[in-house]
Structures are given as structure tokens and as C-alpha cells.
């Protein structure tokens, strides 16, 4: 009797585990989750490609002593910092096109809105890093006859880039995770696909939520972990170069 009972218990446990986790591998669900992840990563990637160069330029402009320019750029930063990303997405997808009479698809809206947000955050990261370079370094550059652009390129940036990298990578991870808002503008990201799968299988697999969210956690982890590793390596290299 006893071995039979153990077999039954083990068998039952196996079925329970397999049923919830199995949902991920049922039908086209795995492909759908990965394509949802593809959408999230594409939007985040394009937003970073658009936003980082723009943010670097804006950040460099913010160390100039032009009060008007500074006020405008500060305003731009505070706007994207204060207004929730959700509101920005909603405004730029539903409200602005209606007022302007143009139609833009969801992915484009997301890339532009996220890109402008990234540029705002990067501008502050860059500004903070650039002004951290000590004055005597800048004065030394001036004494060598460098102009403003040369000081920026040869003095300020090389000495502050190691301060920019960790914050930028951190921002990149935040952008990837914020793509979970995309359903608001009808872009199907990995979280939305996960919810579709959970709800479609609610009757047959009530425990699917645990496995699907667990799997999505794993997917986000394998995207964001290498970012952390790259940040670490870049930081180390920058430090060695500065001290070396």
C-alpha cells in the first residue's frame, strides 16, 4: 500500500507542476511571449538609440553659462521627470494626434515618447558628471589653449564618463521595464501576452499566473543582467584608464 501511495502523491505533484508550467509551452505561447519580449526590447532599444545622443548634446549644453538655454533645458528635464510616463504615452497616442489631425502608430509613439524621456534623464546624468570634473583640470586645458569644445572632448568627457555609465545602464533597465505600460497604447508587449495566456487558461490552469510571471521575470533577468555586467566592465576600464 505504502509505495503506491507515494507514487500517487508524487504523480499528483508532478501533474500540478506540469500543468501550470506547461501553459508556457502550449500552442504558440512560447513564440508569442518571445515576440512580445522582442517588441519590448525593440522599443526600449530604439528609444535609447534616439535618446542617448540627444541627451549627451543637451547635457553638454547645460553646462554653458547661458541662463535662457539653461532654463529651457531644465524645464524640459523637469517636464519628463514630473509627468508620469503613462500620461506622456496617453497624451502622445490619443490626445496629440486628435488635436493635430495626424495618425501615428503605437510603436512610433512609444519610441519617440520614451526617447524624449531618455534624453531628459541622460542630459542630467551627463551634466552632473561633466561638472564633477575639477576646475583645475579645465583651467589646465584653457592654459594649453583649448577651446570650449576641445575642453569638453579631451578633458571633461574622458574624466567623467565612468560616472555616466552606471546611471545610464540603470536607466536602460528602467526603460525596458517601463515597456510594460505599452498595452495602454495597444502595443502588445511581453506582459500583455502573459496576461492573455493566463486568462485564456484560467479555467484549466488556475496556477498559470505563477509560472507565466515567473517566466517573464526570467526573461527580464536575462535581458537586464548582461547590462549590469557591461556596466561593471566599462566602469572598471574607465577607472583603470583614468588612474593608469
Amino acid at each position: 500500500m505504502e509505495p503506491l501511495a507515494i507514487t500517487d502523491a508524487a504523480g499528483a505533484a508532478y501533474v500540478t507542476v506540469a500543468s501550470g508550467a506547461g501553459v508556457i509551452f502550449t500552442g504558440d505561447n512560447l513564440t508569442r511571449l518571445l515576440s512580445g519580449l522582442g517588441t519590448s526590447v525593440t522599443v526600449a532599444g530604439l528609444a535609447l538609440i534616439v535618446g542617448i545622443p540627444l541627451g549627451i548634446v543637451l547635457g553638454a549644453l547645460r553646462i554653458l553659462h547661458n541662463p535662457f538655454l539653461r532654463a529651457i533645458l531644465r524645464l524640459y528635464l523637469e517636464f519628463f521627470r514630473i509627468v508620469p510616463t503613462l500620461v506622456i504615452l496617453f497624451l502622445s497616442y490619443y490626445i496629440l494626434p486628435r488635436e493635430l489631425g495626424v495618425q501615428v502608430d503605437g510603436v512610433t509613439v512609444a519610441v519617440v515618447a520614451f526617447g524624449l524621456w531618455v534624453a531628459a534623464e541622460i542630459s542630467d546624468i551627463v551634466r552632473g558628471a561633466l561638472i564633477s570634473v575639477s576646475d583645475h583640470q579645465v583651467d589646465a586645458g584653457k592654459a594649453l589653449g583649448m577651446n570650449g569644445l576641445q575642453i569638453l572632448w579631451y578633458v571633461r568627457i574622458p574624466q567623467s564618463v565612468n560616472l555616466m555609465v552606471p546611471a545610464t545602464i540603470n536607466l536602460a533597465a528602467r526603460v525596458i521595464m517601463t515597456t510594460s505600460l505599452l498595452l495602454l497604447i495597444s502595443v502588445i508587449d511581453v506582459i500583455t501576452v502573459g496576461q492573455q495566456i493566463m486568462e485564456a487558461n484560467r479555467m484549466t490552469h488556475p496556477d498559470a499566473a505563477f509560472w507565466v510571471y515567473g517566466f517573464i521575470f526570467f526573461l527580464y533577468f536575462i535581458i537586464c543582467w548582461p547590462l549590469a555586467m557591461i556596466a561593471k566592465a566599462l566602469e572598471k576600464r574607465a577607472k583603470e584608464r583614468n588612474n593608469g
Partner: protein, 284 residues
Amino acid sequence: MFNLKKIAAGVLAAATLISVAACGNGPDPAAGGSSASGQQGQTVEQIKKAGKIRIATFGDLPPYGYVKNDGTRAGYDVALGNQVAKDLGVKVEWVQVNADGRVDSLKSDKVDLVLANFTVTDERKQVVDFASPYMKVSIGVVSPDKAKITSADDLKGKDLAVTKGTTAETYFTQNYPDVNLQKFDSKTQQFQAFKDGRVAALADDNTYLYAWAKDNPGYTVGIKTLGDESTIAPAVKKGNKSLLDWMNNEIKTLTDDGFFEKAYESELAPSFTSDIKPEDVIIK
């Protein structure tokens, strides 16, 4: 520096106000209009010419609108959408929305039609145009088979579970003050309390309860309808007379052809308990 900050803060406040004001704007009569006659959104002819109709639907509400494991959309709303496209001779482009995106997706011309369990209310009628309804919903009460409750009077002095902010809560507060309401924050909580035996019965949308009772043997929706009946209807952009007229006609034809009975049998019946009749949900 201090002044500069003040100026920046002032400009920022103004910008915020402007954007908030923009949110609050009513439907702009000029936006999306295609002719001087006041027609809004895409006409039936334009949809036919484009070869596709854009329909907003839910992706997480079985058995009304959901996505199957093979990635195709299914459900009662989706079945209607596919039939509409077939009768128009066009393809469907499904646009998945959340409940709060339904009005704005129409207003901003992101979709032509909303088929997303959209209950007709007076507030919503101000901002979208509803076609003829294709489903009805009202408050229902579910109770255990062994202590079945079949009329609201049976509930006097007993505990009834409801979710805060639902029509069920409002209805019982106003009409049956003798019932002891146990109010919960979420559906999960109210159903858990009910299954634990902490309440005698539970009140919610009947269409939701029919599916729940199916998954939980031993419970029956003893009271199927209470209070005013609401309807669920297709919605088009406010002023899209062309598509509205076509949809009204389409709903009438489909009703006469028995389409909704068939859709009920294939999409809803498998998720509902066997005591539920098509007449409880569909409109004849």
C-alpha cells in the same frame, strides 16, 4: 539663480495646466471629420475601400474577448467582430485595449468599432455612439446548492459578499438595507470569503457569476437578474452615422438569422453552467 528657478517653475505649471486642459477637451468637431455633413470617423465605404476594419477588443476576458494558446482571438465579442468583417467583405485588424482605452481609441480614430463588453451608460452615450445591443447583463446572486437563495427577500439579516464600487454594492445599499453587506476590495477576496462560508451568498454581474459557478461545482446562480438590466452594445465614434446605421442594420439581420444563438452556443455556453439559457444573456 533663484529667480530663474521661479520662472522655470511658473512656465512648467503653465505647461501642465495646458496639457491637463487638453485632456479635458470634449470631442473636437473638426478632428477626423471627412465631410461637411458632420460625418465623423471612417464611413462604411472608406472601410470597404481600405479593405480592413479596426476593432477594439479585450484580450483578457474569456469567454467574451481573449487570445487562445495558438495566438488567435476568440470569444463572443470576437465572433461578432469576425462576422461584421465578413459581411463588410473586409479583414479585421484587432486592437487590444484596456477598459479605460475604449472611449479614447474611438475619439482619436485609432479604431472604427469597439466590441469589448462595452456596457451602455448615459455618461458613455455623451462621448460615443452605441449601436443596437447584442447582450444583456444585470446583477445576479450566487449561493451554495444546499442553502440556495432564490429571491432578494431571502437575504434579509444574512451576510452578502460584494466588491466595492460595483453596481451590486450600490443596488443592495439602496434597495435592501436589511441585508448585511460584506464589502471586499477585489473579486478574488469576495469569492474566497464566499467559498470559506463566511457569507451566505455573493452578488456581482450575472454574466461573470455564470462562468464562476461553472468552475465551482456546488454553487448556483439562484437569482439571475436583479434591478435594472443593462445592455452591451457595439460602439462607434460619436457622429459616425454611416457605420452606426450599418451596424444597427447588421445587428438586426444577425438577430433575425439566429447568429447570436449560434455564437452563444459556441462561445459562451461551454463556460456557463447548464441551467443558463441563451435568453438570460442574448437579446431577441
